[in-house]
């Protein structure tokens, strides 16, 4: 099993130095995970390291295409509360 980087990646480099399997490399148009080398951090860390530091929701997905960081998980604001949060922030 391996994780995959999608077009959402902004090439920020955060994941690359953390991978215990050296599976991540800079590539064009975005970073790439070698599916043979990636072990989803099994046995080394409780959570996949790349997905734990990636700043972009949806940029890293599992083998089934499910986002490890789904919408709202990194801003801390669930999508259905977004408008409410926007109104609160605009009022500042």
């Amino acid at each position: 099993m391996a994780l995959k980087i999608t077009a959402g990646c902004v090439n920020c480099w955060a994941c690359e130095p953390l991978c215990p399997s050296a599976a991540i490399e800079p590539a064009s148009p975005h970073f790439y995970i070698d599916p043979v080398a990636c072990c989803e951090c099994a046995g080394t860390y409780a959570e996949p390291q790349c997905a734990s530091i990636c700043p972009i929701e949806g940029a890293i997905v599992d083998a089934c295409g499910g986002a490890l960081n789904p919408p709202g998980s990194l801003t801390g604001i669930p999508p259905d509360l977004l408008e409410q949060a926007r109104a609160r922030i605009r009022a500042r």
């Binding site: 902004v10 920020c12 480099w13 955060a14 690359e16 130095p17 953390l18 860390y45 409780a46 959570e47 390291q49 734990s52 530091i53 700043p55 972009i56 990194l74 801003t75 801390g76 949060a85 926007r86 922030i89 605009r90 009022a91 500042r92």
Partner: protein, 494 residues
């Protein structure tokens, strides 16, 4: 030797009228021992920034936290202008670039690593760069900035290099406020969200600050003023970091525009008004030395403050240069000696410590817009500009307030498509500006701007922006448009 250099004479003291571009109240208040240490640092000593150059190398891409005012597509927003992407260098390339710049700009005194991510989240790359720089150009002093999360564990290593100062961005002490600024941090191999994450970050920042001070390192603190989030809290931050031994506090305005794609920008968080920033700076000046002439440089800036020469030192060009490191070192030493002789002759040593309050400005601030294709020079025809950079300029210096794309000011197709009303978006975008600087301008827009009370100015074509802004501010002052006694007119204070 220095005559080639644009800096010292052209950005003449008359710009700063002895007030030192806002550094006047920076260094005066520092203990003599610290003043001595930063005397030649262009970013701290207002006088030094006329004489010495600095550069940044972008070697540290990764970051270990998320700030709501940062978009990771671009350089770290704690230290750089928003929306800028620096070319990432390997440590070897960075050291070669430093050697090349140091050989061509003998006024170079300081090299900083500020990004594009967090330097201490990339310890191998950052320290390899410092080591290589120390080998080739041992006289240059180094500085580094960080969000502080990895600071405590790197203090020992930092103290091993010729590092003059460390900048830590500290926006809060209260984790509830922190949770509004930092949605998460990466800590012990996990992502920690919300208040808990902010708590860890704050603890690490404070611990790092204490350890650095213990080791005798100079520590500067940057804070971003975020209205409605930490505006009421920053005087407390100022007090606390001073008590812990930080030598300087740099208060920076939040820059949040939707097109920068930051969380704050997209959510409509407003930036502070210039008056709010100034009020806070003044309130904090009672607590400790406040820095006012910071230019929020790029993570790959090169040269004198206000005259970025990074475009001259591309990787391709550096590869073709042959550099004699020893000869360059000797040349720098001679240059420094000559500069110090000049400075000694010009000023009675250092500014006296007794100047406790900032000098009362004799003119008001003005908003001035610039048409520039590269953010460095006034190089665009008014009619071709698709965006304007808007600055707030006063005697102390200038600050970028806003990058305004004209597209944002198009109110429907009727306005923007028809020729006769092509000026409308520009007038809307520049409504609060006293002057607009461009390379050239046609007669029709000239008249339109004048009718709207905005002075067009094409005389500073191709000048570096900072220099042009100072000249423009002086011109407005000479026209009597900025005298302090006059009631603020709406166009200037909006």
């Amino acid at each position: 030797m220095e005559s080639k250099q644009a800096g010292p004479e052209r950005i003449s003291p008359s710009n700063c009228a002895g007030r030192g571009c806002g550094g006047g109240d920076t260094l005066d208040r520092l203990p003599a021992a610290i003043r001595e240490r930063v005397h030649n640092h262009p970013c701290f000593s207002a006088d030094a920034h006329h004489h010495y150059a600095r550069m940044h190398v972008a070697v540290a891409p990764a970051c270990n936290i998320q700030c709501h005012y940062c978009n990771r597509k671009y350089d770290c927003a704690n230290e750089s202008r928003p929306g800028v992407v620096s070319e990432l260098l390997e440590p070897q390339q960075a050291a070669a670039k430093v050697a090349a710049v140091a050989a061509h700009i003998p006024q170079l005194a300081v090299v900083g690593i500020a990004g594009p991510g967090d330097p201490l989240a990339n310890p191998e790359r950052t320290f390899a760069t410092f080591r290589l720089i120390a080998e080739r150009t041992p006289d240059l002093r180094l500085c580094v900035s960080t969000n502080g999360l990895a600071l405590p564990e790197t203090v020992d290593t930092l103290c091993r290099y010729n590092i003059e100062h460390v900048t830590v961005t500290i926006n809060c002490l209260d984790p509830d406020i922190g949770a509004e600024i930092y949605p998460w941090v990466f800590w012990n191999n996990r992502r920690v969200r919300g208040r808990k994450g902010a708590e860890i970050l704050i603890e690490q920042q404070q611990l790092g600050l204490e350890r650095l001070v213990e080791r005798g390192m100079l520590v500067k603190v940057n804070s971003v003023l975020i209205p409605g989030v930490n505006d009421q809290h920053l005087t407390e931050v100022s007090r606390a970091v001073k008590a812990k031994g930080a030598f300087l506090h740099n208060l920076m305005p939040l820059i949040a525009a939707p097109e920068h794609g930051t969380f704050y920008g997209l959510m409509g968080q407003r930036a502070p008004r210039a008056s709010e920033l100034r009020a806070l700076q003044t309130a904090c000046a009672g607590e400790m030395a406040i820095m006012r002439h910071c230019k929020q440089c790029r993570a790959d800036a090169v040269g004198m403050l206000g005259d970025d020469r990074s475009a001259e030192f591309t990787r391709e060009r550096i590869a073709t240069l042959e550099i004699d490191d020893d000869a360059a070192l000797a040349r720098r030493a001679a240059t420094r000696e000559a500069i110090e002789r000049r400075r000694q002759a010009a000023t009675p040593a250092l500014v006296p410590v007794a100047t406790l309050s900032p000098p009362r400005p004799t003119t008001r601030a003005a908003r001035i817009a610039v048409a520039s294709s590269d953010g460095r020079r006034v190089d665009q025809h008014f009619g071709q500009a698709e965006r304007f950079l808007v600055y707030e300029v006063d005697e102390q210096g200038e600050r970028l307030l806003d990058d305004r794309p004209l597209a944002r000011y198009c109110n429907g197709a009727e306005h923007c498509d028809e020729d006769d009303d092509a000026l409308a978006p520009a007038l809307a975008a520049l409504a609060d500006c006293a002057m607009v600087l461009c390379a050239r301008i046609g007669l029709t827009p000239w008249e339109g701007l004048e009718a709207a009370g905005i002075r067009p100015n094409g005389e500073l074509a191709m000048s570096p922006i900072e220099q042009a802004l100072h000249a423009a501010h002086r011109e407005l002052a000479d026209l009597g448009a900025l005298s302090v006694d006059e009631p603020q007119c709406a166009t200037l204070s909006a």
